[in-house]
């Protein structure tokens, strides 16, 4: 045990000696600043930025290149929550859930507190995840290998059940939105057979409808339309800010939520195919469920900011675990990081820690450094960001729309995505008028296709045996939790209906 601790200490020392070299500190800083900027600009995501920086990395040292690209990635996670909180526009997909309570806090004049909680929760999550990678990266990666298709199915089922739990207002309407989301997710090429579904021969639909155009339309554009209508074109007036820093009460509520969010982000983030948005949704729904005052959620509950922000940052960094120790990129950004390493003749895989200790530990140390840099960078910036709120809406909203269009276009350099965003803006506006919540639609949209793909794969592999879902322990546990959760939500409703009360 002592020997282990000593070697860990030596490794961390090695890591910091690499990460703290002047060049690498400068690259880390540059990456973080750039990441924050693109995070704040809605839609201009880290993938496009990392792709553009790729040729630059030819001329950097491998570890320097990784440190810079990693800085862009988690910098964007920080920045993405800023616009989510201030103007209800998620800068990144993982910040959609942050809009629910973060923006509600801003409307109450607590924008500064929300931003500070988001930054500190992210720092906490980043620190814990970095330690986890340093202490147990390879064993954690092995854990991910225990998951097979039936287990993914069970995780998706839990996610869909969580979407019901997350729903605000009418349950039938939430279910309708989930089903609509699943349906929209069906559009595109079926992975199992290669057949086109609902594409009507339109090339832009062959790969399905993109997540970002849908989310930006439903949340960003629809919100703008709604705001303009509700205020006769003047835009919503925010309550003036009374304080910049969170209160003692905020900290008391946020701290445990950030802890739980970190655990969920770390656990879900190492699974391949996982994005940073699913852990954020999961963390939010857990907070809402275990809270003794669930009605506060959606109206400015600080836990609803801390938990998802911790979860998305933890999962962003946990993605490095399978990337480095298995050579398996869990998302597009990690794939590009592998590309950047390949150019230098370094292939990440099971041997990287032994073969490239300076690179591995240097990167780990730089993660913590990057998180610290981001907090130092972002806390003083809060006063600047909140001044965004004082910009007149008639100036603000056209710029938001322009950035959304640029962001959507830059995803695939395809104008069709901009049209899809506009279409979903109109749909989102209609849904808002009819009092349908867009959040369950988005969850159905993400999880539905993954559920289908994994279910069909599970059936193919098991030869059509449905029993795999209960005989595999991981799957069985997740399904049991889902059933319990569903029961807990539905029981009160059933009891109310029986006792003759009319449910809202």
């Amino acid at each position: 045990m002592e020997a282990l601790a000593a070697s860990l200490g030596a490794n961390i020392a090695l890591g910091f000696s690499v990460a703290l070299s002047p060049t690498n500190v400068a690259l880390c800083l540059a990456g973080c600043v750039l990441g924050t900027l693109i995070g704040v600009l809605p839609g201009i995501g880290p993938s496009a930025t990392v792709a553009m920086l790729m040729p630059v990395t030819f001329y950097l040292s491998p570890v320097g290149a990784l440190i810079m690209l990693a800085g862009v990635f988690y910098g964007s996670q920080y920045g993405g929550s800023t616009t989510a909180i201030l103007v209800n526009l998620p800068g990144e997909s993982s910040s959609i859930v942050t809009t629910l309570d973060g923006h509600a806090m801003a409307k109450e004049g607590r924008a500064g507190a929300a931003l500070a909680v988001a930054a500190l929760a992210s720092l906490f999550a980043g620190t814990v995840t970095t330690l986890a990678i340093a202490a147990a990266g390879p064993p954690i990666a092995k854990f991910a290998l225990l998951f097979q298709s039936p287990d993914y199915v069970a995780v998706m089922v839990l996610g869909l059940v969580a979407a019901v739990v997350l729903a605000q207002g009418s349950l039938p309407k939430a279910l309708a939105m989930i089903v609509l989301g699943v349906f929209l997710g069906l559009v595109g090429t079926d992975v199992t057979t290669g057949m086109q579904r609902y594409t009507f021969g339109v090339n832009a639909l062959f790969d399905g409808i993109g997540f970002v155009p849908v989310a930006m339309g439903l949340f960003g554009i629809a919100e703008i339309m709604h705001n303009l209508e509700a205020t006769q074109g003047k835009g919503r007036v925010m309550r003036p800010m009374d304080r910049l820093w969170p209160s003692r009460e905020d900290f008391r509520r946020a701290a445990p939520a950030a802890g739980r969010g970190t655990a969920m982000g770390l656990g879900l983030g190492i699974l391949p195919g996982s994005t940073t948005d699913i852990p954020a949704y999961a963390a939010y729904s857990v907070e809402k469920r275990i809270s003794s005052e669930p009605w506060r959620f959606g109206k400015g509950a600080v836990e609803g900011v801390a938990a998802p922000e911790a979860a998305n940052n933890a999962s962003a960094q946990a993605g490095f675990i399978p990337m480095l120790s298995l050579g398996i990129p869990p998302n597009a950004i990690m794939a590009m990081m592998i590309g950047a390493m390949m150019i230098h003749g370094i292939a990440p895989g099971p041997q990287i820690i032994d073969k490239q200790p300076a690179l591995f530990w240097g990167l780990v140390a730089s993660m913590w450094l990057g998180n610290a840099v981001l907090v130092v960078l972002n806390l003083p910036l809060i006063w600047l960001w909140v001044r965004l709120l004082t910009i007149p809406y008639r100036v603000l909203f056209p710029s938001i729309i322009v950035f959304c269009c640029i962001g959507c276009y830059s995803l695939k350099n395809n104008p069709a995505d901009v049209v899809i965003m506009a279409l979903f803006g109109v749909i989102g506006y209609g849904l808002k008028k009819l009092r349908f919540e867009p959040a369950p639609l988005v969850i159905g949209f993400i999880l539905g296709p993954m559920l289908e793909e994994n279910f069909r794969r599970a059936m193919l592999v098991s030869g059509g045996e449905l029993s795999v879902f209960v005989t595999r322990p991981i799957s069985a546990v997740f399904l049991a939790v889902s059933a319990a959760l569903l029961f807990a939500v539905l029981m009160p409703a059933v009891r109310r209906a029986r006792s003759g009360e009319v449910a809202g």
Binding site: M54, L145, Q148, P272, A332, P348, V461
Partner: protein, 328 residues
């Protein structure tokens, strides 16, 4: 020194007018006189993107103008390719095409056929391989083939969705080795490797560079590479042919221009790209990144397309994947 204001004004007017004069001037100038766009029809980060970014970076020095990579992913590569092939054929818009383009022309009505493009240069191949989870115990290809023949459909193979390169490879293997596999589709190589490591599938037909690290660490075992020669990154792995199975499958990459590009410009592009790819320093760099670069001109590229087209069409037909442009 002070520049008199009228001179500055004149300079500004000249600058402003220069685009109007440029088209005429460009005719007289040597061909690449403005940036060349190289469209990669895949998202950033994959093998094709990395290969093309390295090429573009090195070609910039040879061409004397920037060669810029632009990712336009979608519909199995057809979106980006179509955009380039429908653009003005002036040599400034190029696209990377890969083996998958052969499949696309039979499956997607929007895809371009070869006679709508002008191949410029051949980059090289990523050979396919058969890789197993070591728990399976097979030591060579023959043991696997014998088992598969005795137990048709029992071995589960991880591959792309139908039409993807590792799915095509699996179909080629089935036909060439005379075996039947249960083909389990995954979205890309990363989840396929994951499934192979976790034991969900027994084997995979993905490209060799995607499994080299796992193989070197002993987590996976490459039984054979389906190329004419062994791969420099894994010289200990024998080819299929060495083991008595003459089957070849892989993924090649080609840079192409739209049909109708002037012959003199095609010549310039071909020569400069060939110089770039043949450069010793470039080749070393590409090898370090795992790419086998075997430069060839437009004619070489056309020949490879025609050969593979002839070999793969029956495989597609048998798998029921031919939807458009049936061959007679």
């Amino acid at each position: 020194m002070r520049i008199p204001a009228p001179a500055l004004k004149l300079a500004a007017i000249c600058l402003a007018l220069s685009p109007l004069v440029a088209p005429g001037a460009a005719q007289a100038q040597a061909f690449p006189s403005q940036p060349i766009q190289l469209v990669v029809p895949w998202p950033p980060g994959g093998g094709s993107d990395t290969a093309m970014r390295m090429t573009a970076d090195a070609a910039t020095k040879r061409m004397g103008v920037p060669v810029v990579v632009l990712n336009k992913p979608g519909a199995g590569g057809t979106v980006g390719i179509k955009e380039v092939m429908s653009s003005k054929p002036d040599g400034y818009m190029l696209a990377m095409i890969a083996t998958g383009a052969i499949f696309a022309q039979y499956n997607n009505p929007n895809a371009n056929a070869l006679d709508e493009m002008e191949p410029v240069v051949f980059f090289g191949d990523d050979p396919s391989a058969i890789t197993i989870n070591p728990k399976l115990g097979f030591k060579n290809l023959k043991e696997l083939v014998d088992y598969a023949k005795a137990n048709p459909g029992k071995l589960k193979n991880g591959n792309d969705q139908p039409g993807g390169s590792s799915h095509v490879a699996a179909s080629v293997f089935e036909k060439g080795l005379g075996i039947r596999l249960t083909k389990v589709p995954y979205a890309g190589f990363a989840p396929t490797v994951q499934a192979l490591l976790s034991g969900e599938v027994d084997m995979a037909s993905i490209a060799l560079p995607d499994v080299i690290e796992q193989h070197a660490a002993g987590k996976l075992r490459i039984l054979g590479v389906s190329a004419k020669a062994r791969h420099f990154k894994a010289p200990e792995v024998p080819t299929f042919e060495e083991q008595g199975f003459p089957v070849i499958s892989g993924l090649w990459r080609v840079i192409a221009a739209p049909k109708g590009t002037p012959a003199d410009r095609l010549k310039v592009l071909e020569a400069k790209f060939l110089e770039t790819l043949s450069d010793k320093e470039f080749q070393d760099r590409a090898r370090a990144a795992g790419f086998l670069v075997t430069p060839g001109g437009g004619a070489v590229a056309k020949k490879r397309w025609a050969e593979d087209d002839a070999a793969m069409y029956p495989v597609f037909l048998e798998a029921g994947l031919v939807k458009t442009r049936q061959k007679k």
